[in-house]
Symmetry: C2
Subunit: 593 residues, 2 copies
């Protein structure tokens, strides 16, 4: 039992209130703290648990500051560990009230929930010259990394048990017998906290710049890389992407009232790959600080991966080595690694050739490999699923449609939704749909064949260039995710995907061709009424349309000969005089102006 | 005095707790509600004000639902208006407790603070086929628009008093004598709520999809367009953009520990113009629903404005008419209005020619004009300033640097910061810096001349194409903002701005040339030590780098002859064999691999 005095009891109550005021809120505090007055507290409620009283009249700015400090100390509290409030908080300097007791269950609250703010409040918004927001966070009780939670690599083998596992601090990409790896969390430790706790914790971190929790990925740090020091994290405050209500598209094109697009591509590097890359580069950063022999991070990429890798390596000052197939990617995609200072090798081969070469190189040189089989990245990508639930206030959508190429992402979404359910944040998981381009549809064919005998295909060119993959590395992960989520695979032809993207754009979006694939899948499933008119459906948009202006221009100028481009909207070349302009408007608006 | 029973009192307490659990929190509730037990409530606290008691044991899912409904009803509560809990809440169906009283100050709480959630909670996540999230919000107490707050157009004339004003429902762009307009809020009404109230309200809206508060702009609706019906709002959940800690750039390039970049360009249409356009198009949507004679919205634009206008008009189903100077804008910029279904007239003239023609057209045809003089847009843009304060947990940065062309944005930022201070959310305003391209620097020259006799210039081409403006429409607004914020104007040459952007990219950003101008201004002010090493400084980035890939490629291929391109990082063309690749890596990494 810890002793507190009345002042502190009031502060306990104020903690909640103040945290509320700052947009952070912890209902579990009320539930887990039993406040027991022992002497001379006539007006206070006295029960063994479950009651709380707050004297709001004493809420002053001074209290508020102290409370912020207080909340940070949760991080340092350990279970079955005697914890002195006064030592950490300096509250005893101001104590002159009756003594009360707080039940020991308070030690259940273990996380740091606050931020740099307390520090700023006490030194007028300035930090020392040598300080950074990281230093500041450290000073406020973050010195000890959380040791309660942990994760490790295990072989991805959901249908058999294995004793094989590896530390995340090892440099390893596959299991002994060549299986994919999976980051496995200590779910028992995570389950010591209930769903309400996790929801409150995650919700408390949204919308601020607290290092590193201002990031949508690192706001879920305990579920991503629980053991990394905050100081080692390389983050650009990624995530927290727009979940857009596609009102007109849903209503007018599909008769749907509850259609949403998760715009993961409205991001720092213009694609969803930021989510995974912040995790990978953070872990590499940690390994390099541990003096693991590494000279940089490399990838072979059709574009988005290299852009994300280069940006995060640039933020960390780690060399990024990028192998790109010459003349196979758009000008917008080439420029990102270059601008971010990566070592860009433009190779006269295709994606598979780049892949082969980087594997050979990493066998000879200590370059960390950042390609799609890397299981660390999936830990970041899965946060998009958690974020969707969070943005819906922890309601689970009925359907989530994800474009699929190398197929890591569909598994990452699955993993995120399952973790939310398993840890009590949600009560179900959505049905997943993987959408493939017909020109690169090995998973679709596998699905149609009743999941029998997967056969890779030779992928043909598709406008959805990032998913032009015939032999996806994460096939096993994807099949597992789809089987367990009552999943569906759909495909879209080039005409279908370009038309769907164009239609979506006409209703205010600016979609990439991969989103077109997903929207096209949605349209087919709506047509068959597999997806109902009121089903809450989320389409995952994986890249910003600005990365695909060339194919959009080609479509709207009807330069794509193989397809009709039936929604093309070319500009009108008009002479710069009022008469010509009015004529043009009359024709377009069909009006007598 | 309103009567409640014990059950209700408990529910009052639970309201707060439940809202906490959902990440919404309202400390003012505690402060403004006085809970007065009148009979048979032995264990409860009884004072005239400022006390609260919650029995957590009674927190059930049922309570939680009811509480959500309850919070929504605040919206309908009017000052000095008798308010029946039971009528709105249906609570009386379940009342069988002792009677209590709640002080009438409860009627101070006036806002809708909740969402679709209550509806979802009661019908299992499904809405009716014909329903949308808007309908749902309406059903839950949103039928009556808030009438407490209001705003109107007044001539922008800060140094003289005027009686002239116009309703926001009028179609008007300038005052009687040709002055710019300003949207003036009823500050007296807003001030009836203290800073704590506003902070809690705004913080409660972050990170969810509640219509329309999930938007960073509309989460500040009361300060933007208080009188618009939520149903008329056209939103893409804009805002809530990344406030990025520029760790490496600050530390390594400038010796700064507290440098931040507000990435307004990481957005739906790739520029900060979304913020203003959602407001303008929403108001036009309202006007059209009011049967004002309007056939669409038009603009003449160098790119970002037309992209934003087209996207929002597409979302609303309103015709957008875009005048663009042929061959003057990038391919990425042309494609957005086209894809979004706008009527795009490509005119063989320059920006001024487009501007002149659209003015002529709008005199003849009822097309709403969306150009930069429009004061509605500034109301949206100012939310970026509020958001910066919010993301820093309502700490005000020392400096905010904004690129300036037509100069509306610098005034919008000023207005946002001043409102925060005036309404008690913050205790000061930052010093503002307006950064101009040397090739289009009329404000800089005006500043250097001690603000005497403004002279427009003929702007020369600049890579920062969106600010290539010699005769800025918002000059008066900008001068006022800078004079009142102890402001500074800086300029950047083409070489300086491109180098600054390239350096920033090397540290993980992907900046547009306008951000280069702002960063360049920062570098100069740091060099002179005007901005100190620990000053918290925010650089406003106005567009996504993906909109400017061409100039980046030109820079990195050293194709820009007038400048050195000293940070160029061209790709290496390498043969696709291991030996050649290893040779290339050896040379780049200076290693004996």
């Amino acid at each position: 039992m810890h002793t507190l005095n009345k002042k502190r009891l009031i502060t306990v109550a104020l903690t909640c209130v103040t945290l509320i005021g700052r947009g952070r809120a912890f209902p579990f505090m009320f539930e887990k703290w039993g406040v027991i007055p022992t002497t001379g507290v006539s007006a206070l409620e006295a029960r063994s648990s479950g009651h709380l009283l707050a004297d709001m009249a004493s809420l002053t700015q001074e209290n508020a500051c102290r409370v912020s400090c207080f909340s940070e100390c949760f991080h340092g509290v350990r279970k079955e560990h005697s914890f002195s409030w006064s030592k950490r908080l300096g509250f005893n300097r101001k104590c002159n009230y009756e003594t009360l007791q707080v039940r020991a269950t308070v030690s259940k609250i273990e996380h740091n929930v606050s931020s740099q703010d307390a520090g700023l409040a006490t030194n007028g918004g300035k930090r020392k010259v040598t300080d950074s927001i990281k230093d500041e966070a450290r000073r406020h009780g973050l010195l000890e990394p959380p040791t309660t939670f942990s994760a490790k690599y295990v072989p991805f083998s959901p249908y058999e048990t294995t004793e094989e596992f590896y530390s995340l601090d090892e440099i390893i990409y596959r299991s002994k017998d060549g299986k994919l790896l999976d980051v496995q969390h200590d779910m028992k430790a995570l389950k010591e906290y209930d769903g309400k706790y996790w929801k409150a914790l995650f919700d408390s971190r949204v919308g601020k710049t607290t290092w590193p929790f201002g990031s949508g990925v690192w706001s879920k740090k305990e579920w991503v890389l629980p053991e990394i020091d905050n100081d080692d994290i390389v983050s650009a405050f990624e995530g927290n992407s727009n979940l857009f209500w596609a009102e007109r598209f849903g209503k007018e094109m599909l008769g749907m009232s509850d259609l949403w697009v998760k715009h993961c591509g409205i991001s720092h590097t213009g694609s969803f790959k930021d989510l995974g890359m912040t995790v990978l580069v953070s872990q590499v950063n940690k390994l390099m600080k541990m003096n693991k022999k590494l000279i940089g991070v490399g990838c072979a990429s059709t574009g988005d991966t290299s852009a994300a890798l280069s940006a995060y390596c640039a933020a960390a000052g780690i060399p990024a080595i990028v192998f790109l197939p010459a003349n196979k990617i758009s000008i917008a995609q080439l420029v990102q690694p270059i601008a971010n200072g990566a070592i860009v090798l433009s190779l006269d081969t295709d994606f598979d050739g780049c892949m082969r070469l980087i594997r050979e190189v990493t066998e000879q040189v200590p370059i960390y490999l950042a390609n799609s089989l890397n299981s660390l990245r999936l830990e970041g990508q899965k946060t998009a699923a958690i974020e969707i639930c969070q943005q819906f206030d922890w309601e689970v959508p009925d359907w989530v449609i994800v474009p699929g190429g190398n197929l890591g992402n569909i598994y990452a979404f699955y993993k995120g939704f399952v973790m939310c359910k398993e840890l009590g944040l949600t009560d179900r998981t959505p049905r997943l749909v993987c959408a493939q381009a017909a020109n690169a549809n090995p998973l679709y064919l596998h699905y149609k064949a009743g999941w029998n005998n997967f056969v890779p295909v030779k992928a043909s060119p598709t406008f959805a260039s990032a998913i032009q993959i015939g032999d996806p590395v994460s096939i096993d992960r994807a099949v597992y995710a789809l089987k367990n989520s009552d999943g569906i695979v759909e495909e879209a032809t080039e005409e279908e995907l370009m038309d769907a993207a164009a239609l979506a754009d006409m209703t205010g979006m600016f979609t990439c061709p991969h989103t077109g694939v997903a929207l096209s899948a949605l349209m087919k499933l709506r047509e068959k009424n597999v997806i109902g008119p009121t089903d809450r459906t989320v389409v995952v948009s994986t890249a910003h349309g600005l990365k695909f202006t060339q194919s959009k221009i080609a479509y709207h100028s009807k330069e794509i000969t193989e397809i009709q481009c039936k929604h093309a909207n070319p500009p009108l070349e008009v002479k710069a005089d009022l008469g010509s302009v009015m004529d043009a408007l009359r024709s377009k608006l069909s009006l007598t102006l």
